[in-house]
Structure formats: structure tokens, C-alpha cells
């Protein structure tokens, strides 16, 4: 048992392996904490603070996504302080950003009884950036969770095309000097899109269909298969609407991909359905 830690979550004694985060321990204990920026295949960014919990002896609340458990730690996941902090986080985010494609943020608002309308003030409203053929950046929906930066950087793609620029309320994702993506280092793998929790980054096909009112979640079938390009064997999920592939993702639990793909696997599928072009050379 030398590698285990015994601690208390909401009055319940739990024993978990050394190195477990409070978030993971709370999930095991059946008291999951809400998260927005946390992603199972990315290092915790600690940015959203939706997962904060109370740890006895700690002056401030603690981010459960990144803090590892310690022996004898006493954690409360639903104290009044915690609830208030979570509600304010939900209100602040929803008052600034468009949460319409952010189910996790909508759930946080609902579960905390948030009233974002109580805050007016500045918002993230801004024009959509449609500057490449593969994905669209609708930063009015961005909650600055850092997932895209991490996925583009050393947590997955190692391209480092984007980072956070600006400060405070004006901090934003940038590809360098506000460049359009084709002028940046972007290789269009779309892994930023894959990890975006709010639809701020969205495949252009999906965005176009949504703009035209043609995107219909109920009518979309998903099928797991394997990429037809190189020999790495990435698992794919094909999203098909009216017999057309409209989106390609990878299962997050796939041992080869962890949900990540390259530009060909994610986007180079149009040849499959170019029936009309099949007769051409």
C-alpha cells in the first residue's frame, strides 16, 4: 500500500494511487467535479476554475484537475464557497462568450443556477474568421480554455502555431501578429478543433451546414473505422449525414490517436464522395 494515498472526499474515505488528482479521486468516489478546460489527453491548464474544491487547511480553493491528492487530505466538493465560486465562473463565462455550442458550459450554468444576464458589460462578440478551407474560428464562443494551444503545442501536435496573446479580458488566441491561419505555422491537423469545447473552433463543413440550417444531430450517424492513408492505423469516427461524410473525428480512447489526427485523416475525405467527379481524370 506504499503507493496509495488515503484521504477524505465529502466525508467519504477513499484510497487512491499516489499521483492521482483530486478530480480523478472525486470521480472514483462518485462525486465528480465539473470541468471545462480539463481534457483527458492534455496537461491541465487550470484556467477555467470550474473544478475548484475546498481543501481543509488551504487558504484558497484548489483546482481539482491538477492538484494531486495527499495523505489525510480533506476535500469538500460542494461546500457553499465552492458552489459560489463555480456559479460566478459560469456567470462570468456565459456573460462574455456565446455558449450556444458549449454543452459543458451550459451544463455548468444550469447546475449552479447561474444568472449571466445579471452582469451586462463587455462581451467577446466579434466577426467569424473564415480564412482557410478547413476550419473556422468563431472566437465569440471562445472561453480561453487553452486546450487548442496545448494540443497545437507539446501536448500533441508540436507545431506551436498558436498561443495566447494580449492580457486580461483582451487575452486571446493568436497565430502571431493576428495573421490568417494560412500565413501562420499551422499545418491544419485540426487537433485544436477536436479539443475545443465550445465550437469556437469548428470544421468548416460543419459550420457551413449549421449556417444553412442543415446540420441535424439526430440525423447524423457515426461509424468507427480506420484511416485509409498511412500505416499508423488511426481510428476514425465518420459522421455521415444524408450519405455524405460531414465530419471526421477520432475516438478519444483510441490507443493510437488519443483523439488526435493529421490533416489527411481529418480533412482529406472529399474524394470518397466526389461521385460526380469520378469520371474525370
Amino acid at each position: 500500500m506504499g503507493n496509495d494515498v488515503t484521504m477524505t472526499i465529502d466525508g467519504m474515505t477513499v484510497t487512491v494511487p499516489y499521483g492521482t488528482t483530486i478530480r480523478a479521486a472525486a470521480t472514483m468516489a462518485g462525486h465528480p467535479v465539473p470541468t471545462l478546460c480539463w481534457h483527458e489527453h492534455l496537461a491541465p491548464a487550470n484556467a477555467c476554475r470550474a473544478c475548484v474544491v475546498e481543501v481543509e487547511g488551504s487558504r484558497t480553493l484548489v483546482a481539482a484537475c491538477s492538484r494531486e491528492v495527499e495523505p489525510g487530505m480533506v476535500v469538500r466538493t460542494t461546500s457553499e464557497r465552492v458552489q459560489r465560486a463555480r456559479r460566478v465562473v459560469a456567470e462570468l463565462l456565459a456573460s462574455a462568450s456565446d455558449a450556444s455550442l458549449a454543452p459543458s458550459l451550459e451544463a455548468l450554468c444550469r447546475d449552479t443556477g447561474a444568472h449571466p444576464e445579471n452582469w451586462g458589460g463587455a462581451t467577446w462578440h466579434q466577426p467569424v474568421r473564415d480564412d482557410n478551407g478547413l476550419y473556422v474560428r468563431d472566437y465569440a464562443k471562445c472561453i480561453l480554455c487553452y486546450r487548442c494551444v496545448e494540443a497545437c503545442g507539446d501536448q500533441a501536435q508540436n507545431t506551436f502555431a498558436i498561443s495566447v496573446a494580449g492580457r486580461g479580458f483582451h487575452a486571446h488566441i493568436d497565430a502571431g501578429w493576428d495573421r490568417a491561419m494560412p500565413e501562420s505555422d499551422c499545418v491544419f491537423c485540426g487537433n485544436c478543433v477536436a479539443v475545443c469545447p465550445t465550437g469556437a473552433l469548428i470544421d468548416r463543413t460543419e459550420w457551413t451546414l449549421r449556417q444553412n440550417g442543415q446540420w441535424d444531430d439526430a440525423a447524423i450517424t457515426t461509424t468507427d473505422t480506420v484511416c485509409g492513408y498511412c500505416g499508423v492505423g488511426c481510428g476514425l469516427t465518420l459522421h455521415v449525414l444524408d450519405n455524405r461524410i460531414v465530419k471526421v473525428t477520432s475516438p478519444p480512447d483510441h490507443p493510437v490517436t488519443h483523439g488526435m489526427l493529421c490533416v489527411k485523416g481529418r480533412y482529406a475525405y472529399q474524394y470518397v464522395q466526389q461521385e460526380e467527379a469520378a469520371g474525370e481524370d
Partner: protein
Amino acid sequence: MVRRLLPDNESVLPLLSEERWRARGYDRALAQAAALGPDGVIEWVTAAHITGRGGAAFPTGKKWASVARTTDPIKYVVMNADESELGTFKDRVLLSGDPWGPLTGLAIAAYAVGARDAFLYVRGEYPEIEALLKDAFGWTRWAGPLADRLTFHLYRGGGAYIAGEETALINSIEGKRPEPRVKPPFPTQRGLWDHPTVIQNVETLANVALVLAHDPEWYRAVGTPSAPGTKLIAVSGHVRRPGVYEVPMGFPLWPVLMDPDYGGGIGGSGRLQAVLIGGAAGTWLTADECREARLDNESLRAYGASLGSGAMMVFDDTVNIWRILGQVARFFAHESCGQCVPCRIGTQRLVEQLTGDRQPDYQQLRELGEAMRDASICGLGQTAPQALLSYLDRPALWR
């Protein structure tokens, strides 16, 4: 009047001269450190109960011991001279009056924990301090092995208040965006380039030099048992004599405002309304509270306040405190790095609420402030609503 950190008669000697270094007793400090050995130095610093003077008041000896303990062969020490808190200018005064104190303390810290590289992170708006420190690096030629074994690296801050937060400072030195890192791991475990790192405020290091130049008992002879030594207080605003004053820890606040040797009495209308203690991230004390308060963290706790960096901003009764709160909010909104939600959006909402036309809802403001205090990543977001919350706690200040 006590003068320990601030030079007294030695001031007649040239600022960067070896004679002045000796006259201040820093030759003794380095010799004493070498005689004690690293463990002995940490014992002395621990025995002296020095606590961090940058605001967090963490026991210095404890910090050093945890770094010295690590098995990593590479360790670093950093002097944090990115003094940017509103109303705080004591490190500037200290460094321009006695650069040898903090530098000697830095060399002692490096020796105690086993670091060979010492970093100085100097606020970008302090070019004269930067030049002074660069000139001072020549001391390695004559100050003996504890200084000579070190390589000094000076980094100039780029104008971000947040870079004074120790983990953001680490990112800044590493060439990254100065965003705070998650703690734990603390810099003492994984600091600069992931090596154990001691980061100390300028004034803390000057205290270290004093302890080694004398001894822990001498050091503890002033101040309170839990907080020995002296504290530099930067007094600004409506006093007749604004400036940096050195007082024993636990010294009464009132004479610092009123005594001719210190603030010399209330300026402006001559009628004190309130003091904001601890800088922009500080706490309002009403005139009545100022009569009773003492300048150490233990006694200030009764007012929900702390010394912080040692700033006292004094306001007479003509000032609209609400407007000051708006300016404080603007400062934090501008200086927030934007990493975490409570601070990134919270500071913006505070500005809107405190400077807008709408009558603010105090309850809503309090909830926002408490959430920022509880859930922000770093000290900036956690203390940004402090002045507001202390105002809400003091109806006497409301108009």
C-alpha cells in the same frame, strides 16, 4: 528611530565602494556564512524568523531548507526586484541606498542552498537600479569566494505587474509569457527550467545579510517575537512627508502617519479618511482603525488586513473612495494576464460595476469578489477584490 536596512552613517561612503560594503558589515556576513556552512546559515536564518517581505510572509529558512534538501544538483536563486505594486517603492529606495545588502543576501542564499547561478529580475521602469546592479557585479573580484563562485544574470521586466508573481517571473526569465504556474509544485521543487529555485524579495535578502552580519539574537532584538526585525513602509498620498520609513515590526501605525520623523501628519485637508494598507491589493483601514493598528501581520489580521509589501496609501476626507476603487479595478484589469476566468473576466466586470453609471448591487459585488479571492490561480486575482471587499465591510467609508 531604528536604521538597520537603510544605511545611516555609511551613507557618506561612495555607494558601490568596497569600504561601504565593509562598513555595512557585509564582509562579516559572507565570512560568517562561510564559517557556518550551508546548513548553519539555514539554521541562523530559521532562528532569526525572517519572513518574506514581498507580501506572502513565508518563513525564509523553511524555503531554503526545502531547496537545500532536494537532490537536484542544479539549483537557482532569484532576487525579485520587479516591484510594481501600487504605492510600493521600498525596494527601489533600498536598492538605490544600499545595493550591497540585497546582493550580499543573494550570495548567502545561493551558498546556503547550493546554487551557482543567481538571477536578478528588475522592474523595467527602474533603469537606474538596473545600471547600479550591473556595476555592482564587479564585487566578485574582491568580495571573496561566496560572491566569486556565483554567476549573476540580470533580467529586465517587460512592464507586466504579473511578472512579479514568482511563478510568472520564472516563465518570464525562461522567455515565456508571464503567466503564473500551478502550485504545487512550488518553485522550491520545480522552478527555473524545472530546477529547485529560491525566489526572494529584495528586502528579504537585505534582512538575511543583516542576520549574518550580526547574529539571530541581535536580529530578534527588535520587532515582535513572531515577526522580528524591521519593515520598510512606503507611505504615500495625503501625508506631509511621503517616503520610505523603517520601523520595527509591530510598530504602531498612527505615528508613522503623524510623527515628524515619519509621515509628519495628514496632508490635503488635514483630516484622515482612510489608509489603504498593502498596496492596490490591500485593505482599507478607517481613521479609527489607524489609531489602534500595529504594523505586523499578526495584529493586522484583526482588521482582515496584512502588511503585504508594506505600502500605506493615505487619503484625506475629500477623496471619493469609490472612485479609488474604480482606479484600483482598472489597474488589475490592465495587469491581469488573462489566464484564469475569475481574474480575466472578473477584473473586467469589477471595472464595469465600479465605474459604470448603474447603482451597483453590493451583494453581487461581494460574491464576485469572494469568488475571485477563492478561485483565482494566483495572488493577483485573489487580492484584486481585496480593497473592494474591505470597503464593503466598512460602512463607515460608504457615502
